[in-house]
Symmetry: C2
């Protein structure tokens, strides 16, 4: 081998080792990587939403704006083009499933939210058309107008090619088990697309107790918010009425895999004193109607527990870009003692199946 | 072997197999069981507290009374004598660490609670004196009177031989990171005894969302309540001021072992925007200042995760008698693929060390 060729090879291997990026069809170990890495909870915004956030002023919850210490996030979130693709190449992500960042449109008045939903979906679907191998996206909605949300979801899926819906947990303090949101479940069932139930600042009653940096936000409060939301949906019996609806929750299932046998056990004990009766046990709905992603939880112990409890087919990889370090998340999962088949399912096959990519 | 002797042996083995109870120094597998089984979150009440519960009437939260469908629980809880010991023998439990059942004295007015705390501690310490190999107990307190609670804890530990304190989460909607509760931390640090932080119905702001049998009570709400409480304590910095205080939380650490790396990660990210600065990372306080018990969570997957994250020395066995089935819990843990040393630590050695039994 000539010296020049040797150096080129050595540099190439070093790049791969640092980033996990596929180069020339080979991965860090030199073996062929026969799966794409698809990341399933990747945030974005459009400038119109950022401007609308700024127009709200201080409403006591975190909002992405171009002012203040989180300005860099606004910039990263609003790039659904070349800059983001460069970051994906750097970090070894082949495709991102884009979803409007929290709290989404749920903080705006009804008409503003309806208008922004169309704008968001038009712009993100254009990005997907421009980069079909790089981006897929979920539809933003205005749940505060449930019928309109259902129609926008239908338009986004059937006309724009979006892959499902994103709702950032509560809407004005109300969860999706409220009967007013039934049109959204009708649309999800009819269109056969999943709903990603993503965190936001918790309902006001809960938020008041999240008073320091160890309980607030993504450290703990988000899991309380979405875990509660998901379990309320199960307990409401909505999956008896809409048995085909698939919910995706991030952050390793917001803790639910840890709790399933206890939830079943205590639910059954509570039936001695209450009438609520579901067709299935709570855990059976999780097994049937939920998938979970690894966003922000790319750690072996909770992943192992979740694989054992739910099976690998219910788990999808996510980076939570740009809030988490995408390259570190990829490297962490690639370093785990998982089989090729498990990595293939986690990084690609399950996402392709669940979101019809 | 004579037929009579054979039948006696066979019956004895059958009894052991069904109950896990130690008979003649041997356990179900025929090998010597060289550890006692100590259960560390076992509920009790005294009739005076049940009567006081009944006197409150319907205050919108679950209370143990002699009326209604939970009357059998009142009877089981008030037996801290022969009936309970018979159940322990049946189920293979050698010793129970007794603690006043939720919501304890925290629902009563200040003076009622102070008076009942003395009565509870006098009666339970008498039961412990009568059955020193069967019972140990934690001290009830009236946290709504923090100075009096601290003095009652001192009396209970130094004069009555109780082993620590029990507080059923919030007191009037306030958590223990409120500065008013500092006298309790002073006493815990001075006396070198642990505090068991046990669930009750959540703070009102959270309780309003726990609206069906899948989210309410022990299924989910209790973990939200005590998990939030424990993390608020950590975030408040109280363990920087009282570094020797040990907190024990049940239900496999109320989910915290699942979340520790994410909590650290998001806490560190939040420091970019906030000033709160602890001496240690959140997880380091859990490793230093917390022990967890298996109450209601005697399942292999979460136990395995917790052992991996915290180490076996931080885990203690609990049955949660009489709310859970004590015999099934023992059998479940005995059937787990744990080493003799792990079972010995979980069932006996850690409890002896943490509670100075």
């Amino acid at each position: 081998m000539e010296r020049r060729q040797f150096i080129r090879n050595a540099l190439s291997v070093a790049t791969v080792a640092a980033t996990g990026k596929l180069v020339g069809g080979e991965n860090t170990t030199g073996s062929r990587r026969a799966y794409r890495r698809i990341a399933c909870e990747e945030g974005f915004l459009i400038s119109e939403v950022v401007a609308a956030n700024e127009g709200l002023g201080d409403i006591g919850i975190p909002l992405i704006t171009r002012n203040g210490p989180a300005a860099f996030l606004a910039e990263l979130l609003c790039d659904i083009g070349d800059g983001r693709i460069a970051a994906m190449e750097r970090d070894g992500i082949d495709m991102q499933l884009l979803m409007l960042s929290a709290p989404g449109l749920q903080v705006f008045d009804r008409d503003t939210a309806i208008g922004l939903a169309r704008e968001v979906n038009d712009q993100v679907s254009e990005a997907c058309r421009r980069h079909p191998n790089r981006f897929a996206a979920l539809a933003a909605m205005a749940p505060q107008a449930p019928e309109r949300a259902a129609r926008e979801l239908e338009r986004a899926v059937t006309q724009l090619g979006l892959k499902g819906a994103i709702i950032n947990s509560h809407t004005g303090g109300r969860y999706l088990d409220d009967p007013e949101f039934v049109p959204i479940f009708e649309a999800l069932q009819d269109l056969r697309v999943p709903l990603y139930l993503h965190p936001r600042d918790p309902v006001p009653g809960i938020a008041q107790y999240m008073s320091n940096a160890v309980v607030d936000g993504a450290a703990w409060a988000y899991a309380v918010e979405v875990g509660t939301h998901a379990l309320r949906l199960i307990g409401s019996g909505i999956f008896d009425r809409y048995p085909d609806v698939q919910i995706v929750i991030g952050h390793m299932g917001e803790g639910l895999p840890f709790w399933l046998p206890r939830i079943d056990n205590r639910y059954q004990a509570a039936l001695r004193f209450a009438n609520s009766k579901l067709e299935l046990l709570p855990s059976e709905y999780v097994h049937r109607n939920f998938h979970i992603t690894t966003s922000g939880m790319n750690y072996m112990a909770p992943l192992e527990l979740s694989m054992e409890v739910l099976g690998i087919d219910r788990l999808l990889y996510a980076s939570d870009y740009p809030f988490e370090k995408q390259g570190e998340a990829v490297a962490a999962v690639e370093a785990m003692p998982l089989s090729f088949e498990q990595k293939q399912a986690l990084f690609e096959a399950n996402a392709v199946r669940v979101f019809a990519l």
